[in-house]
């Protein structure tokens, strides 16, 4: 272990002397200390704090990721190119230990910097909250919606396949009944195509609400142990069909909540009666993410882990649309802000560990410029693959849309091989008061670090231990 620690120490010393590292460190400090004063936010205390958290921590993480790629590549590749590694590997120390020592050195210095950045941002935030003259309402809003850690519960998703099949069967029966042309339902391929069309249509219209109509969403798996002091929040985004999707306008409607009462029935036994409670008709801004507290005590709102929410469209001018994946979501507080902050920093640390692992593996078998290019390419490919998969709608017609199908499949394949760097950027969750749960962190660690990055590192280490190190030489 003496050799291992000596290499770790040497790597750290070498790292702090790197000009690029110093530049990135300077940028990091600049970002941490200057960003809070330059970010304007949306003018509300809540928005300001959200933007502060997201940008400051995000910038720190991005800088540290860049720095870790650079340092891992330069510490490992340069040693080989300048032949300094010859002085080490002719000593009784395994090459795997040399590589691990260098990896550990780079990781340690970045984790220390991450800790400093995280503590600084947290202190800034605390200072800002303590020194700002927020109204009681703003302060409450901040504490309930930002400085908290809430679990997000999405509504139950309709079984679009079953619904599409039902609709297809209905149309076929109707066509037979009316003696219509059955050509379009004749063979399997035609029926499949029709099925996909219907499915696509159903997904697109699942959140559509016409005037004076109500759409309900079912929520399951909600916590059963909430007290009446707990506040449940609901987040949603409404779109109006008559406007361009991103345009902000005002529409009118009601939120409706199902309320559960326990009442004795005629026989004296207790039964649950569900009633509906509508909030007063109100104006809503479209294409804007909004959050409201559910105005019903949890014990009345949630029954056996289930709840029901609806929206009544009272806008005479347009149909309204709640797009798939944009709510409404119910949010229940699970932990405090500090705990969530620490979890976010933990995810950032896993990101640094993973990215350094990748850069170390690549640098173990390539020259410095190629290693940096390869690491950057890997991360960009991961990002693009993630974009490719998420940007293609769920309603994609796999039969007829060849390019879409190819893009989706290709992106999916890439995502199984590479790690999208945005997996580690969870400051958005923190800023929105969403819980970064331990299962989420565990899955991220297992999926990205253990299953994808570690095999790449082991491959790099295997090549490193077998390389003829004296074949490379570029006097530095």
């Amino acid at each position: 272990m003496t050799a291992f620690f000596a290499i770790v120490k040497l790597t750290i010393r070498s790292a702090v002397r790197s000009h690029v590292f110093r530049l990135l460190l300077f940028l990091l400090l600049l970002g941490i200390f200057l960003l809070p004063f330059t970010l304007l936010g949306d003018g509300t205390p809540k928005g300001d704090v959200q933007i502060f958290l997201q940008y400051c921590l995000g910038f720190a993480e991005f800088t540290l990721c860049l720095s870790s790629v650079w340092l891992a590549c330069s510490e490992i590749s340069s040693d080989v190119e300048t032949a300094q590694i010859h002085m080490i590997v002719v000593k009784p120390v395994r090459r795997a230990v040399v590589l691990l020592g260098k990896y550990a050195g780079v990781v340690l210095i970045h984790l220390a910097l991450l800790l400093i950045a995280a503590v600084t941002v947290y202190c800034f935030l605390s200072f800002r909250l303590a020194s700002s003259d927020f109204s009681e309402e703003d302060r409450m809003l901040l504490e309930e919606q930002v400085l908290t850690a809430r679990v997000v519960y999405p509504p139950e998703r309709p079984d679009f396949n079953a619904l599409a099949q039902q609709e297809l069967d209905r149309r076929i029966a109707l066509a037979r009944e009316h003696g219509q042309d059955m050509l379009q339902y004749e063979d399997n391929q035609s029926r499949q195509q029709k099925f996909l069309e219907i499915r696509k249509e159903l997904i697109a219209t699942a959140g559509l609400i016409s005037e004076d109509e109500t759409l309900f969403w079912e929520f399951k798996g909600l916590p059963k142990n909430l007290t009446d002091d707990d506040v449940i929040f609901m987040r949603y985004t409404i779109y109006a069909n008559r406007y361009y999707v991103q345009d902000q306008n005002t529409i009118r409607g009601h939120w409706i909540f199902a309320v559960n009462y326990v009442r004795p029935d005629d026989n004296g036994a207790e039964t649950v009666v569900t009633d509906l409670m509508a909030l007063p008709e109100d104006d809503f801004i479209t294409a804007t993410r909004s959050e409201i507290p559910v105005p019903i005590r949890p014990s009345y709102f949630i029954y056996d882990g289930e709840a029901r929410v609806g929206f009544l469209n009272k806008d005479v001018r347009s149909d309204l649309n709640f797009e798939e994946g944009k709510g409404p979501f119910l949010m229940v507080r699970e932990a405090g802000f500090f705990s969530n902050y620490c979890r976010t920093v933990l995810v950032m640390a896993i990101g640094i560990l993973s990215i350094t692992l990748l850069a170390s593996a690549v640098a173990a078998c390539m020259s410095l410029p190629i290693a940096i290019f390869f690491s950057a390419a890997y991360l960009i490919v991961g990002t693009l693959a993630h974009y490719l998969v998420t940007s293609i709608p769920d309603s994609l017609d796999f039969q007829s849309d060849f390019t879409g199908t190819f893009g989706y499949r290709f992106g999916d394949l890439l995502l199984n091989l590479v790690v999208p760097i945005q997996d580690f950027f969870v400051t958005g969750y923190l800023a929105n008061g969403e819980l970064v749960s331990f299962p989420f962190i565990g899955i991220l660690f297992a999926k990205d670090f253990l299953l994808r990055m570690l095999p790449v590192f082991l491959l790099g280490a295997w090549i490193y231990t077998r390389r003829e190190l004296a074949l490379v030489s570029k006097r530095g």
């Binding site: 050799a3 040497l10 300048t82 002085m87 002719v90 009784p92 120390v93 004296a470």
Partner: protein, 410 residues
């Protein structure tokens, strides 16, 4: 009897083999795996324990490739190479090896002490042991005063010294020194050569590669001459360099008439042969060292490295009594080990030469008295040329080996 066996010196061929190369070949390939150059071509050699072997050859002859294969930095394409009976890539084996590369690749931001401490850490030595060895080595290579200076500020000579120190941090049984005197001043060269001699006395095995043939000639028992990746000559220094057709007699300065009488006697034996009489030269290196030593006595300082100090105590060897004797001498007169050894060797050689000369002179005078007087002959015309020719005979022979390797082919 048992004692006798214990102290018996094994002959070179009986000593254990440290390096064994059989059919060793190294082919460098391009990106497409096509052969690009055959750096080492089917060579066989052995290095036995306690030997100091010089690996000679012009640039591109395969010396560095061979050394790198010995260190496991390059892998042989063909043949078999073992160091201490194991693969050169064996990690445990490397505890026994010390390596001074041609260019000392040091971490410029580390101080001299930190550099040695780092390399000592790679051997898993304890903190106390590392500190002890580092201090002793710094003293030994004359860099104790630069203990806390970053090695990036060192001159090339100082960097060589620190490189040499790191090569000995583990008290290696087998040292590979690639151009050990490169970049050193004559004083440093002398110290390194003396150090190699001392290491040999302590039973260490050393492979030295150098372009400076005089250095190799002075310290090596055996040389291997490489050219074009093949071994062109491999043998003991005496065996390869002795000019068996000439004799040299060294005596203290004689009066003119005595020289004339000797000439007459010699002429009787070789009437037609060329003969020269001259005063022997000291080498330029000896002259330089003498001047510097005199300057030191006058307390003139230099900003670079200084003469090496006492040999590091931890550098153990098979011949403990020799080491102890040297250390005793070091503590007595406070001279460097190199100087002690050189002085000891010089004084032994001088004594032997004096005795031999006295004996020879007596014999010569006896024979002169017995023989009839010979008429005076003319003084030698080519005294100076012959003297120069003889002085450089050995080096010329080596140069010939390099220039016309085919001539030496067995």
């Amino acid at each position: 009897m048992a004692e006798a066996v214990k102290h018996a010196e094994p002959s070179a061929s009986e000593r254990p083999v440290v390096v064994s190369a059989v059919g060793l070949t190294k082919v460098f390939r391009d990106f497409w795996n096509r052969p690009k150059a055959k750096a080492v071509n089917d060579i066989d050699f052995e290095v036995r324990e306690g030997e100091v072997v010089g690996l000679l050859g012009p640039n591109g002859s395969g010396k560095s490739t061979t050394v790198k294969m010995l260190l496991g930095l390059l892998y042989p394409t063909g043949g078999r190479l073992t160091v201490f009976g194991k693969s050169p890539r064996d990690v445990e084996n490397k505890k026994l090896i010390g390596y001074l590369p041609e260019e000392t690749y040091l971490y410029k931001y580390l101080t001299a002490f930190e550099t040695l401490d780092f390399f000592a850490s790679l051997f898993g030595l304890s903190k106390e042991e590392r500190t002890r060895r580092c201090d002793q080595l710094l003293d030994m290579v004359g860099l104790a005063h630069a203990r806390n200076r970053p090695v990036g500020e060192f001159s090339k000579g100082m960097a060589r010294r620190i490189g040499l120190a790191q090569a000995m941090i583990n008290d290696p049984a087998f040292l590979i020194l690639d151009e050990p005197t490169s970049g050193l001043d004559p004083l440093g060269c002398r110290e390194v050569k003396d150090l190699i001699k001392l290491l040999k006395k302590r039973g260490k095995t050393v492979i030295v590669t150098s372009h400076l043939l005089s250095d190799v000639e002075e310290v090596c028992d055996r040389i291997i001459v490489l050219y074009g990746g093949r071994i062109r000559a491999n043998g003991g220094m005496e065996e390869l360099l002795t000019i068996r057709t000439n004799d040299t007699i060294t005596v203290p300065r004689l009066p003119e008439d005595a020289i004339e009488r000797i000439r007459r006697i010699v002429r009787e034996s070789i009437p037609d042969g060329e003969m020269s009489v001259a005063h022997p030269h000291m080498s330029l290196e000896d002259f330089f060292v003498e001047i510097v030593n005199e300057a030191k006595k006058e307390s003139l300082e230099t900003s670079g490295s200084r003469s090496g100090g006492a040999i590091a105590e931890y550098l153990t060897g098979d011949r403990e009594h020799d080491a102890k004797a040297v250390l005793d001498m070091l503590t007595r007169d406070e001279e460097t080990p190199a100087q002690v050894l050189a002085r000891k060797m010089e004084s032994d050689a001088a004594k032997a030469a004096e005795e031999a000369a006295k004996k020879k002179q007596d014999e010569l005078f006896a024979s002169l008295q017995a023989s009839a007087p010979v008429p005076e002959e003319e003084k030698s015309r080519l005294e100076q040329q012959e003297l120069e020719a003889k002085m450089s005979e050995a080096n010329r022979k080596l140069q010939d080996l390099l220039k016309n390797p085919s001539d030496r082919k067995d």
